[in-house]
Symmetry: D2
Subunit: 140 residues, 4 copies
């Protein structure tokens, strides 16, 4: 399936506004919160393809879990900033997805992440194949 290995040509963009809850006493966005922003964007990317995670759990009995995250923090972001969070699928395997994500403020790179997701049984937490229909939609 060579298609499953093709990178996403046009990254999906999800806007995130910075509120007090996102900042820390350094006056900037608390770095751990970029993982939240990246996840919100992946959730919307999935929803745009017709999949909600709660339904995925109920109907297919599977969940996506985050297996590995690597984030580089390039520039501080601040209160009231509007960030564009990108989602690009870099690689899709039968039971995992690998995303490249960026947080951009008016085109300037603020943070970038490399996120690996696994598909697991919602009850046992054991690896499970990503539903074929979903995999097809996410990689075309």
């Amino acid at each position: 399936m060579p298609d499953a290995r093709r990178a996403d040509p046009t990254p999906f963009i999800h806007p995130v506004r910075i509120y007090w809850e996102d900042t820390d006493a350094g006056g900037v966005v608390f770095y751990a919160n970029y993982l939240k922003f990246f996840e919100r964007a992946r959730t919307e990317w999935l929803r745009a393809r017709g999949w909600e995670q709660e339904k995925l759990r109920q109907e297919a009995g599977v969940m996506f879990v985050v297996v590995q995250t690597a984030v580089r923090y390039r520039q501080p972001a601040r209160l009231d900033d509007q960030l564009d969070i990108t989602v690009a699928l870099r690689h899709a395997a039968p039971a995992s997805l690998h995303f490249m994500q960026q947080a951009l403020r008016q085109g300037t790179l603020v943070a970038e992440g490399d996120i690996k997701i696994g598909c697991v049984d919602a009850t046992t937490f054991r690896p499970r194949r990503i539903p074929a229909e979903l995999l097809q939609e996410t990689t075309t």
Copy 2:
């Protein structure tokens, strides 16, 4: 100034989507997070009136701080839910604002809050009058 004491006739609405970060092991939204949702909505309410909090700090040297919060949790909200967060100014005093806020899911009340905000000097944290221009805009 009797106008300053009139309730806001039409509540402002800010939509909030529920993500994994908002939930807890009970399977529902972690109750402390409604304070975040209420604040996001107040921030957008203020922005819709032309005021950003960062500018307020830099230009007028003041900050809004939360003085008191009372929240009643009526119904659990869950992953993927879309909530409408309302903002209604109940009372405006020279150095404080009192808001009534609700979190609604398709018209059903999920949580409601009674939030008191004070205006303080951004450096000393001492009470300061709300800039007249802002007070006027927020109460008309």
Copy 3:
């Protein structure tokens, strides 16, 4: 059972240290986080009485849910501060507990909360009686 209605004479104390994650761009503890500190202290208060919430869910099939919170913020707390969080049971009813809690920094009141907890079925979220054994231990 008049005993169940007596206030807790000696408040339980749980220490909380302030880290970057707890602060916001105002340079102080983000107000919503006091609800987290109060809950950590209630959890330790319960554990000191021999009850863990996960066990409570598995063995008795019940969960405690927060029904109402009222918090007054008195003084800002800052990075590296050590707070003492108190837990005093003010009132115990068959299916609910009402706590008074304070956050103190070297004896100075930083924030105080009035927290109402309900006991619910872990599956249906319907009100359930607090296990008698637990109620007895918490009120003596």
Copy 4:
């Protein structure tokens, strides 16, 4: 300075208890929170060496900022779990520190992180040398 490049022989351990605030609707610890646990442990590691971050900012005019984080999530952790968070300094450079950290539950690896910290001017956010006294204490 070969000493500055030696790994920390005995890792520092900071205990972290899992509360509701740390979990998500999957019933386990929300992955982004391991970054918070790792940071609490680094803060205590620094404090054990006589340095508080707030003092560092006020006295030396510098702050530590997180530049890069890589985390692998091995096992889910749950409500009421007690985790041991380790801190091992892997490498110290003039303006940065590189830590290896683990979250262990009774000896079982739950998550592990590779965290790079930079020392910056507290006002300009430009790179600054780590105070010599601190560097010496952290690497011996």
